[in-house]
Symmetry: C2
Subunit: 264 residues, 2 copies
């Protein structure tokens, strides 16, 4: 373990100011970094080989012996901070005393490995809820989907809330950003089938043929896919609704489709 020589005692330390700034998307986008907090998420970052700039550890708050042991055997740079400094970073009620500053990793659409017959991707267009995005990344990892594609002005998967909701799956999934038109062009070029959802489709999602490489596309929480987007899909399916609601939460809907398409 490489530990910084001195305990950081000031909330105005430049590293601490930077970490605090990473709560804001503007700062994350500008620096291409993210702030990761808590034992589970930080361990996922370490174990996945994420690009960790440094860990931020508060010895007084970090109670987990296995994590302390892991840190002793690690070559990562660790900044030790006081409880006051750690609490100035944390939004949690019971902070666990460990966090990390990581560099964001994004994959390029063109570098995606296509050509395996059962590959699966999920794209989110204009999804605004960070919890939903994190939860969908978690499901995507659970079904071994090949990646999560964030289209247009979708919220940031590197936000603290999305990272937490992903339970660290974010560090294992390929993340790609692109426009809707780029996505459609990519799918056409590689003969990847685009499957969307609409309440007005008469095709039940449980009747999808599973043999093709498939890109599931989900619209925003509020509006779903536009008419034009639906026309660009190869297949538009619906999820049956029996009650007084006309749609599911976007993460719930994505989970149904991903499990339906990944099950053998």
């Amino acid at each position: 373990m490489k530990t910084s020589k001195t305990l950081i005692t000031s909330t105005r330390n430049p590293h601490i100011i930077e970490a605090r700034g990473l709560r804001l998307r503007k700062k994350r986008d500008q620096l291409g970094k993210a702030y990761v907090e808590g034992i589970n998420s930080t361990l996922a970052a370490i174990e996945s080989g994420a690009a960790i700039e440094h860990l931020i550890v508060c010895p007084n708050l970090l109670k987990s012996e296995p994590v302390k042991q892991l840190l002793r055997n690690s070559t990562l740079l660790v900044l030790e901070v006081t409880e006051e400094v750690f609490r100035s970073l944390s939004k949690r009620d019971g902070p666990q005393g460990i966090a990390a500053v990581v560099r964001q990793i994004w994959s390029e659409l063109e570098s995606i490995n296509t050509g395996k017959k059962d590959s699966l991707w999920i794209a989110l267009d204009s999804a605004a809820d960070e919890g939903n995005i994190g939860s969908i990344i978690r499901t995507s990892e659970a079904v071994s989907a090949a990646g999560v594609i964030l289209v247009g002005n979708t919220a940031d998967p590197y936000s603290p809330l999305a990272i937490k909701a992903s339970t660290g799956a974010l560090f294992y999934q390929d993340l790609i950003r692109c426009s809707w038109d780029q996505l459609v062009e990519w799918a056409r070029k590689h003969a990847v089938r685009i499957v969307g959802t609409s309440g007005s489709s008469t095709i039940d999602y449980r009747n999808i043929d599973r043999s093709a490489e498939t890109l599931v596309v989900m619209g925003s929480e509020r509006a779903g896919l536009s008419e034009i987007q639906q026309q660009q899909c190869d297949l538009v399916v619906s999820i049956p609704m029996n009650g007084k609601v006309d749609s599911l939460n976007v993460s719930s809907a994505a989970t149904l489709l991903l499990y339906e398409l990944s099950s053998s």
Copy 2:
């Protein structure tokens, strides 16, 4: 429309103080009421026949003509308020100018109508995330489940966040509160099958026989069902996980089970 004689201009008006207080669970529990905001949720409350004490409307902020028309034809008591007063209640960025104070409605476990062969209930034990609870209520309504049972110290479905996440489905679903032991006793008495989930089960959730009356039980986001709870289930199933995660979001998992069990 019964409108209060005068426009409420003070944020210290007793009705406004009460509505603001309903953001807190303690106040909601004490008064047995809830604060509902936004066009969709308020309309769901009205259309479902919820026990509405009064609507709170800001004419300057309410832009929807159909909603204005509906209010003109309604016999509900409407308190008109200034923009400043409405904004003192709202946590939203773009408040829509309509809200309601409703009385909470809870059903009793013993009043549940059992005996139909394909009835379905979902119980949440110790679920802490209000967004998840609302989202599960939404899914429960989408599959026409008979009710949502909140066990032990589960978070409040009548919180503003849960109501919003339910997209108003809360007002259509039977909500029941009880202890775990009461729930198990009820299921045994009425021969309702209890189905739980565990990562260590070898039974795939897609192999559940759908013919029995079923109660799906979900544990907390963090710990799932305890060993003892799993032993009390008639059937414990698992959701296949292929990646580096060992569980799904509780709402995603509930959605998979509810759709699997409700599909014919």
